[in-house]
Symmetry: C2
Subunit: 387 residues, 2 copies
């Protein structure tokens, strides 16, 4: 066996980020930030226009949708979407199976938006029969909110089926697609959502600092005066873009320009379909390799999204997570402490500027780390039995 220590290889020498995000990005995506632009100058405005147009295209929004950016993180986009689209007279059904669903509920509560919660465990998708019973029992529901990929567990929620329910029951659909946008193909013409939140720093592989809300024009038009804040008012932001092509308030210019570069690399990889292929391969190698080493994924394979995998924390006495984390960090791999409510866990991401070779290197590093820690986990599968 090799005596050398397995180390991550990255373009910059930095540790690879195997987290739910922010992620490792290509050096080329960061290099374009080595400039300064005037926020109200035509050079930046045309870069920003390109991005807004492309984000709408990635959602297949055609001319019926428009993308409105909002400064801040993805959660700023979610709060902007919920408070702009759900009027004070409305009621939103929040489907929850993780902390991002819980966060939407908290946003609604603080903003005095009426809501009904339908909650499933962190490893279960919504039950359609049950959701329908809620929709029948509470006819005042006007909107349905769904987290597409709930990164608390990495579960992929059944967006198309929920969109079908929304259509059947004539409810407006609001989607948190932060962790799926750019890897799971999304079609606005099929899903017919009112609004969808995307982020640059997940599957689009750019850097954090802004969120995007892809909005149906017809619905957005009717949201005037709904918002409970100035800075998160998507209607006002949109009107200002329509009039001036400009942000109302200083945009995170460098962040936005980095996304323009990332979108070019996204196109070169074949868009969401191409990216999905790479993430699926990353995920397949990771889950298979970790199983061989004795780790147990939290989710059954059929519910596992290819963006981030949650593993149950081993119960072996010598397995100390902080040691495991730090040893992997020394080898150039940054993983993520788990946030499940139901079980102790940790997460390893498959998104970002990561390739199958990186996952293979990670697995060697995990194996070496376990050996150093003198931990031998009981593996349910053997290397030979795997195909």
């Amino acid at each position: 066996m090799s005596r050398t220590i397995a180390r991550a290889r990255s373009e910059t020498g930095d540790p690879l980020l195997l987290t739910p995000g922010p992620l490792t990005t290509a050096l080329s995506v960061k290099e374009v930030m080595l400039h300064d632009w005037g926020a109200r100058d035509s050079t930046f405005i045309s870069i920003n226009n390109f991005i807004l147009k492309r984000v709408t295209e990635i959602a297949n929004g055609g001319t019926k949708y428009v993308t409105v950016p909002i400064q801040g993180s993805g959660s700023f986009g979610v709060e902007a979407m919920l408070t702009t689209f759900v009027p004070s007279t409305g009621r939103v059904l929040i489907l929850i199976n993780g902390q991002y669903g819980e966060r939407a509920k908290r946003i609604c509560k603080i903003a005095n938006r009426k809501y009904t919660v339908y909650r499933t465990p962190e490893d279960k998708i919504p039950d359609f029969e049950a959701v329908q019973r809620v929709l029948k029992r509470v006819p005042s529901i006007t909107h349905i909110f769904l987290v597409h990929c709930e990164t608390t567990s990495g579960i992929l929620n059944p967006l198309e089926e929920i969109a079908e329910l929304a259509r059947t029951y004539r409810k407006r659909l609001l989607i948190d697609a932060i962790s799926s946008f750019g890897a799971i193909p999304l079609d606005a013409r099929v899903l017919n959502f009112d609004a969808l939140v995307a982020s640059p720093n997940k599957c689009l592989e750019a850097i954090p600092g802004v969120a995007f809300v892809v909005c149906r024009n017809e619905s957005l038009k009717k949201t005037k005066g709904n918002a409970t804040t100035l800075v998160l008012d998507l209607h006002d932001q949109w009107r200002n873009f329509a009039k001036t092509d400009q942000y109302r308030f200083t945009p995170p210019i460098h962040v936005i320009v980095s996304l323009s570069q990332a979108l070019q690399e996204f196109a070169r990889e074949g868009g969401a379909a191409g990216r999905l292929g790479r993430y699926q391969e990353n995920c397949r190698l990771l889950v298979r390799g970790m199983r061989i080493l004795g780790f147990e994924p939290f989710l059954p394979d059929c519910l596992q999204g290819p963006m981030v995998v949650t593993f149950r924390m081993p119960t072996a006495a010598r397995f100390v997570f902080s040691t495991f984390y730090n040893n992997l960090k020394e080898r150039g791999f940054i993983i993520y402490p788990g946030k499940l409510k139901v079980a102790k866990s940790f997460q390893i991401g498959c998104m970002g500027h990561l390739y199958p070779e990186d996952m293979r290197n990670l697995l060697v590093a995990v194996r070496e780390t376990l050996t150093e820690m003198k931990v031998a986990l009981a593996s349910a599968v053997s290397e030979a039995s795997e195909t």
Copy 2:
């Protein structure tokens, strides 16, 4: 005279940004962004802790103040400050002499915060006698909000005198110091404010994407439950930092790391006092040179802050602003369209990684541009009469 065209010199070849912000930054400040960091990893956390501590120190906040960051632009910080610090039972006196004061009013209106407005023209500072009459007439006022440098005109409002009034009348002081922080020395122990908003992309010469609210501990503690949003709740953000050292929601990591570099360069320049000296010299050269060329500053010298200068739009028939703007941009200088209500105007900034040499080059470029445009403005001063 020289036949060569005057051009800006910048480290990156980009046009220099002579605007109210975002500004030209040092290449070294941008170069540190060529990496990726885990948002919850100790490497980033320690960089962020350094920044929060330094921002508090720059305000001379000692142990009585804490800096709470908020994702987004400066206006996100202002909305966070107003909605977190002014309770629904309070009333804020908003001193307005430009669009940033107007914006604070709009924020309060949307958030259902009671407010009283005291407005002066864009070229006038508040009248102390008049402010006192308002404070006596409306005893329910609990807070006073002031924009320190109102960039609409570039006027420097009398912060120390308003702080004195706040002390006398036992009102809490809230400050928008976005355009002054880092160049005008501020002393929390003297001003005794409840909260103050600062931005990285003005006098600290870093890039946009986050705001900072320097908060008095004793006052911040009492704000629990005040906020009208989740993402802009400074109390919740602060509690989470106190518990975990972490952001509640994904921070703009690269933006924050760039500020850590900018703060080191800020210290090397001698802090706010050192930076003020450079900006004052930039401003002095600019105002003097533009006067010689026949431009008229909007503000009297005694009210002019050294960050950005507003010039009245020349009325000469051949002076077309878009031509003037584009010719200067071709020479590598980006200036700014004015936003005054009372007069047509444009702005030229003195902040950012700009040095007296840049202002001299700009003045040559302005002179050449006027010649090309065949515009001769009547100058009130001659070059020889200037000292």
